[in-house]
Symmetry: C2
Subunit: 463 residues, 2 copies
């Protein structure tokens, strides 16, 4: 691996120039006028795959933007890694807030500024360069590899599901590797091994059969806004715990190792609260903030509305009130089951003065790749070699739909090897990528492919 | 009075034809294209005042639509009545839902259908015809009389306040008489002697300094929607009572006579609930529904909003949540004091996890003209003579801003002698006036002017 790392060091400048070329293509997936740029970007990546030595390079058309596929499968008996990334970017608007032109990558200090630098062209490119270094140095890879780079991540990966369904066999692998997230903070390389799932609900509460005058009728009927407030208020107890019966039944307990690992992260409640502008944090008693965010299920109101919401005063006692409420799920909760528990509970507690309609808007399962699994162990070892310091473990409180889909459709767990930073302005003006993370990322990626077989204990699932 | 009533009977047809003429003018105050109709309508009323024998007829321009004034002040030592009404109407739209053309008054059954028939041209016209009958029969009125008919009631009486302020002396009187409301139901003549006041508030609850991703941050901070729901839920106790300390301190207790009077009204909870489409009514324990509506203060959420309120799902943990909350007040509560109690309480109970901003949007005082006051006693006697049955007492749960303004600016109590019915489609297609109430109203109005001096015990306030 010394030679591989030396190859990476020697080619730093060229790598940066190539990335600059990729970042110059305004591949904004949401805008029709960039249709041609999307095609051009997919072609650029396909050409690049050929150049670094990948095989069977193909541009798969979809009903939306194309997916670029390539593979290298000449390591018999070794595990197969499926690298996922996306070449589409968010719109550059508002352009006037950019310090340098969004599609003209510019180095300032240790950062490379451009739309797509961290989300996700730069991070996907990290793996291309690691593969190049391995293939050019050794003539082979230590693992089997498949790479798919899609063009619709920023518009909801609308056609990825059907692409995965149609190409189940082609895409079969032992592990998905994605670099499209952030490390915990600068100089704190970390490995994200879990995501929360979601059950997203809507409540419609109906009172009187029409909007009433709150003067003429106030005092005679249960105001649906009040009734809704009473229901929402009752969904947490004084300890910040969700009161829905059975809600916590399937929650996997945190291990001692996990709780110890989170404590090592550079995190204080005070600094976190300060960053959010709140005096006091809130949540389930008996857990630290990071534990609550990552490993405990929660219930949040995402929206509420009813009655008059414009300027000034209108004396209405509304016929209806609505709320959107989502529950974040952790292993081993299941979205459909949780949605049912929610609906059953709401229907049980709703007072006779109103009627309720509960709808499930969408659901997604939680995901976890245990910290003692080969993929995570290889990633930890690779990060230590790539960045020169032991990485820390983290989870993420949100859901990443593609991770859920890889598990659901292909049955494969994902390792999230994020080389971004939390403050890199993804989706905003002056998006950047920390160049230390760019080069450290390339070294880490190369080490990951090299380390994985050592930790691999199972049989390769690839047919 | 026999001759007066006989005059009314003899002239029934002409009265109806004259009202039909008044209703033919499309005096829609909210529409610029009806500016000319507004002027024409004011002129019609002024001409009519001259014709029935009123003096000093004048059309007062305002910054909006004009006010028509007239007086008859030749009853020295007798009380002075100020009759208020309005000649403007709501728009006739949607026209296609009218059975007969909105400005072509049409008799069907016992009803007269036209825009403005009950709200308020028809009801104001009732007093014109009573005055005519008295003056033509007796050559004089039993009381002093001032009549103002404004043209902006349907657009919030925007310039009435300044009109009252500017003409305080001209408008001085002992009692305001308004017919712009409904009797309790058909064949149940009733006298409305009280209105509730209002204190209308807005709460802005702030949590984190920006909208957060509910996955990445859910479980760490107090969601402002949840916190708002908890606050709103806490504002009523299990007995439906408002929990704000001091809220009930100034509430005047219902007298035995009032409670007994309300029990005489043809009202059942079952029928009322059925009409509103609710299975179970809600409100403060220890009071009947009518008592709660009319004589007890209440707190209602008029609006609530926060987070995502569009179609589908968005995983936001919002920075802010808002509610509009109004309190209906009864004698002797005061709007400003109640608003202060509310603000103080909210600031006391708001958790440290969020911050709150409380604003007063508007306020109005409750009004009551006691049932043993001369004005109400005269109205009761007049209704009995006019309709041939003892009227019942009622209050109204809403506020009528002009009643509050007459009290505030001129210091005069109002008697609300409603000749409408609750189902007459005011503001809607097929508005109508019950003709029994039209003629009964004219008789009642004449009797009222005749009865008032008998019950008058005080000195006339008129200078």
């Amino acid at each position: 691996m010394e030679q591989v790392v030396s190859y990476i060091d020697t080619n730093k400048e060229r790598y940066l120039n190539e990335l600059t070329e990729l970042l110059a293509i305004p591949s904004v997936s949401s805008r029709k006028e960039h249709q041609g740029d999307m095609q051009q970007c997919a072609q650029w990546i396909a050409d690049h795959m050929e150049r670094i030595g990948m095989h069977s390079v193909k541009i798969f058309p979809t009903e939306g933007h194309p997916v670029v596929y390539s593979e290298w499968l000449e390591a018999p008996g070794m595990p197969t890694v499926l690298v996922y990334g996306h070449y589409d970017v968010q719109s550059e608007e508002p352009v006037n807030l950019w310090t340098s032109p969004p599609y003209q990558a510019t180095v300032r200090g240790e950062n490379l500024y451009a739309r797509g630098s961290t989300d996700d062209k730069g991070q996907a490119f990290i793996h291309f360069k690691a593969v190049e270094a391995l293939l050019k140095t050794n003539g082979s890879l230590p693992v089997n590899l498949k790479i798919i780079i899609e063009g619709e991540e920023e518009v909801g990966s609308e056609h990825l599901d059907s692409f995965l369904e149609e190409h189940k066999d082609l895409l079969q692998a032992d592990l998905v590797l994605i670099s499209d997230t952030s490390m915990f903070e600068k100089d704190v390389p970390s490995i994200c091994y879990g995501l929360r799932g979601i059950a997203y609900m809507e409540i419609e509460l109906s009172g009187p059969n029409r909007d009433l005058h709150s003067g003429s009728f106030g005092g005679s009927v249960h105001n649906p806004i009040q009734a809704l407030a009473e229901i929402i208020a009752s969904l947490h107890d004084d300890n910040g715990r969700v009161t829905i019966p059975g809600f916590y039944d399937d929650v996997r307990s945190l291990t001692k190792a996990e709780r110890a690992a989170y404590k090592k992260l550079p995190f204080t409640d005070k600094k976190y609260a300060g960053g959010l502008g709140v005096k006091v944090l809130y949540g389930e008693k008996g857990f630290t903030t990071l534990e609550r965010l990552w490993a405990r299920p929660t219930l949040e109101c995402n929206g509420i509305w009813g009655g008059y919401t414009g300027e000034g005063a209108k004396t209405v006692l509304p016929a209806k009130a609505f709320a959107k409420i989502s529950m974040r799920l952790v292993p081993d909760q299941r979205s459909a089951k949780t949605a049912k528990l929610f609906e059953k509970h709401i229907k049980k507690i709703v007072p006779k003065t109103v009627t309720v309609n509960v709808r499930t808007l969408h659901g997604g399962e939680p995901a976890i790749t245990p910290i003692d699994s080969p993929g995570v162990e290889a990633a930890v070892s690779a990060l230590e070699k790539g960045f020169g310091k032991k990485p820390l473990y983290q989870r993420e409180g949100g859901s990443i739909p593609i991770v859920v889909q890889f598990k659901k459709i292909l049955g494969i767990d994902t390792v999230l090897l994020g080389f971004g930073l939390p403050d890199e302005n993804a989706h905003a003006p002056d998006e950047f990528l920390d160049l230390n993370n760019f080069y450290g990322g390339i070294r880490t990626s190369a080490h990951f492919f090299n380390e994985l077989p050592k930790f691999w204990r199972g049989k390769s699932k690839r047919r």
